[in-house]
């Protein structure tokens, strides 16, 4: 093809291959750059593998068996020893037996109590905020007793008007920082 013939073909027809390559490559490059520079882990949702059961039942969660559950209203004498007694509230100790199924040495956990009906409010333990007369008898959190047994013990300070039907969610971290095992145990507040 002569130079004169090539010039007659026009700019677009002469550069059609380059235009196609640029049209494909530029958006692709932008997309790849955005993907690489965006920390995907920030957008990964935390997942909760929940197993539910009644108060007097046991649930298998990861390498643990959780339950049965015991709920005790803290006596007035003990309640008076609160660092910060609050009018219009009651204190409850909620304890669940933990039975390791494998080689669990020191289970970690956190918990929240939620109303099963009504306003479905959520409460977190007041473990680190109050002390009781019998504080030596109450080792709160997920602990190992002197006999080698494991317990999950939580102290909740709840409004007097709280729903009697509630659910205790005990959350256990897993090897995957984005995943938790949750034992969800129904209970009735005394």
């Amino acid at each position: 093809m002569s130079v004169a013939a090539g010039a007659k073909r026009g700019w677009w027809r002469r550069n059609v291959a380059g235009v196609c390559v640029a049209t494909l490559c530029v958006p692709s490059l932008l997309g790849v750059t955005a993907w690489v520079s965006t920390p995907q882990s920030d957008f990964a949702a935390t997942t909760f593998e929940t197993v539910s059961a009644a108060q007097d039942a046991r649930v298998e969660v990861g390498a643990l068996s959780v339950g049965p559950l015991q709920v005790e209203k803290v006596s007035q004498e003990s309640a008076e020893a609160f660092d910060a007694a609050v009018p219009g509230t009651n204190a409850y100790l909620v304890a669940a037996k933990l039975t390791p199924q494998g080689g669990v040495s020191s289970p970690e956990c956190s918990a929240a109590l939620r109303e099963a009906d009504g306003a479905a409010r959520v409460f977190t333990p007041a473990n680190g905020f109050v002390s009781l007369n019998e504080s030596d008898d109450y080792r709160v959190g997920c602990t190992r007793g002197e006999q080698g047994e494991y317990h999950a013990v939580f102290l909740f300070v709840l409004p007097e008007q709280v729903s009697a039907n509630a659910v205790l969610d005990v959350r256990f971290p897993t090897s995957d920082p984005r995943r938790y095992d949750v034992a969800s145990l129904s209970l009735t507040l005394p």
Binding site: T46, F48, A84, V86, P87, G88, T89, A112, R114, R121, V122, F123, T124, P125, A126, G128, F129, V157, L158, P159, D169, Y180
Partner: protein, 191 residues
């Protein structure tokens, strides 16, 4: 069309393209704009408002030139904001609720709440479901004692991009001026 006209036309198109680019640049949001926090309006003495996992009720704003701490009097220009904070909805969160930052913007100055160990109100882990009363203390410049501004509270420390931030107008000239302020330690209040 003459060569001169084509050249002028090309220049014209170029100038128009540059002007259009400048115009578009002016309208395109900056990185700060697209990640700006979402303000939640509140007022001192008003109802509680939800800010993320917190419910916040601003009770009062007072100012004084004296602050009593452990029977000692600190003389300066003090502003104290009293509020009730309640943590809410924690089931799907791995962190405990807390008021992570408190800033008082007065004019061109911004003041952070006092971080004295005996006045730790910011960053205090909260028990979800129980209201906690906090006294936030700000030490401000003398030139700002009668100014107006905005109180900004955030559940997230440092990085509040794309998060909810409480904003409440504050008028120090109209707020109560007392002889002495005595901040209390954070305490639960009856729900």
């Amino acid at each position: 069309m003459s060569a001169r006209a084509r050249r002028l036309g090309a220049w014209g198109v170029g100038v128009l393209a540059v002007a259009a680019a400048g115009l578009i640049t002016g309208f395109v949001p900056t990185d700060d704009d697209i990640t700006a926090p979402f303000p939640v309006e509140a007022s001192v003495g008003g109802d509680a408002v939800s800010v993320g996992e917190l419910s916040v009720r601003l009770l009062e704003v007072r100012s004084s030139t004296q602050l009593t701490i452990d029977d000692e009097i600190a003389r300066s220009n003090w502003v104290m904001v009293t509020l009730e904070v309640t943590g809410t909805g924690l089931i799907d969160r791995a962190t405990e609720p807390k008021l992570s930052s408190a800033t008082l913007h007065l004019g061109e100055r911004s003041y952070s709440a006092s971080a004295r160990p005996d006045q730790v109100a910011v960053g205090l882990p909260l028990v979800a479901g129980l209201p906690t009363r906090l006294d936030l203390v700000f030490e401000i410049a003398e030139g700002d004692i009668a100014s107006t501004g905005v109180l900004e509270l955030s559940p997230r420390r440092g990085d509040d991009r794309l998060s909810l931030v409480l904003e409440a107008p504050v008028d120090l000239a109209a707020s109560a001026r007392v002889e002495r302020l005595s901040p209390r330690a954070p305490e639960w209040v009856s729900p």
